[in-house]
Symmetry: C2
Subunit: 191 residues, 2 copies
DNA sequence: AATTATAATAAACATTGTGTTGGAAAACAA
DNA sequence: TTGTTTTCCAACACAATGTTTATTATAATT
């Protein structure tokens, strides 16, 4: 991987631009964030922006890709490299990571974010959490797709709400809740 | 409501524009759909567009509002006007309505759609399906929010997938599935 | 510290979509 | 048919886009 260690100026510039995007996307959807405004907020020349990114969407895509890579890193580094299933401890670790980068993840998971990030998360989850559903030959593929979509969308919603509220629960507690919601439905709680 | 019966020309124009939006949004997110392209596809003059809508988003908003009104109509017209809970029959009827307007709902529920529509659906559902959760004083508000978000996001995902695949299941069967997923989780199926 | 390489800047440019306008032509309702 | 309303057409100023050039500033290298 490109460990050529970017020029210091490049790092500073990119950081300023990325921070500005996250800041602006707390208020506006990506479509309403112009390159012009972005550069003004970051105090970076517009030509400089175009030297690094094609447009706002390209920028967002790169930020997302990095976040996905980090999540993947957390996944493979943990106990579950052998077991194709997300465990409460692993989910806890991911939640901690999300909390540490709260501003970023709020934006990525929010409705202001781009669809592709959620889709990537779905893909990651598909390869792990629910792989056993796929493996079960008693389930047809269509049903598996329903279950996966239901599960991942539900989870993302909970995590997004948690971040919006300032992470009032401990990661471990939320991981527990999510797991229960997934496998036992909403009824486990209130009945 | 406005039963003034619009001028025939207005009806034709609006219909053409709306169809064009749905068509274009199968490929691009709303942010990438320009008024110009919209009018070219609809074969309508750009000035005419601005006579009816402020911009693409205003147009989408109006389409959404109408869909929401229709759903509301289906809800209040049914047995559940007294019971604050979505029943399988009522959900079935809504699914039939969605299937009848498949192209439209695919767009509205997809990630290309606007967040506000999903939020409105969430709001509708909050007032009914899960009202009992709210009423239960043993549940704190934060937990209730988690459950609601989880449930609604999951449902929308399933319905969206169903529409994308060409509605291969009967509405009644899908309504049954969704209800089970909601209250018993994914485990009811594969184990 | 001096030299070389490269990144950021400023200014200008053509291009494109936006939103508005006024008048002519067309379609409607009566 | 007559009067009304809508659409169309052409033109407009305006703003953001993406590119290019020369110049300045900063970093990496020796």
């Amino acid at each position: 991987m490109e460990y050529k260690k970017e020029d210091r100026r490049v790092r500073i510039t990119k950081l300023a631009i990325r921070d500005s995007l996250v800041e602006l996307m707390r208020l506006h959807p990506i479509s309403k964030v112009s390159v012009k405004m972005l550069c003004e907020t970051a105090d970076v020349n517009r030509s400089t922006f175009y030297a690094h990114y094609a447009d706002q969407y390209d920028l967002l895509r790169q930020i997302q890709a990095e976040a996905v890579a980090d999540i993947k890193h957390h996944l493979t580094n943990k106990d579950l490299s052998q077991r194709a299933e997300i465990t409460v401890p692993a989910l806890t670790e991911i939640l901690q990571y999300a909390r540490d980068n709260r501003d970023l993840f709020r934006v990525l998971l929010s409705d202001n974010g781009d669809a592709s990030f959620r889709q990537e998360v779905v893909f990651l989850a598909q390869q792990r959490t629910i792989e056993k559903i796929r493996a079960d030959e008693h389930i047809d593929l269509r049903m598996a797709a329903y279950l996966e979509g239901f599960a991942v969308s539900g989870c993302i919603s909970v995590i997004g709400g948690w971040l919006d509220e300032g992470c009032p629960d401990e990661p471990a507690a939320l991981a527990e809740l999510i797991t229960k919601l997934l496998f036992q439905g909403v009824s486990w709680y209130y009945r």
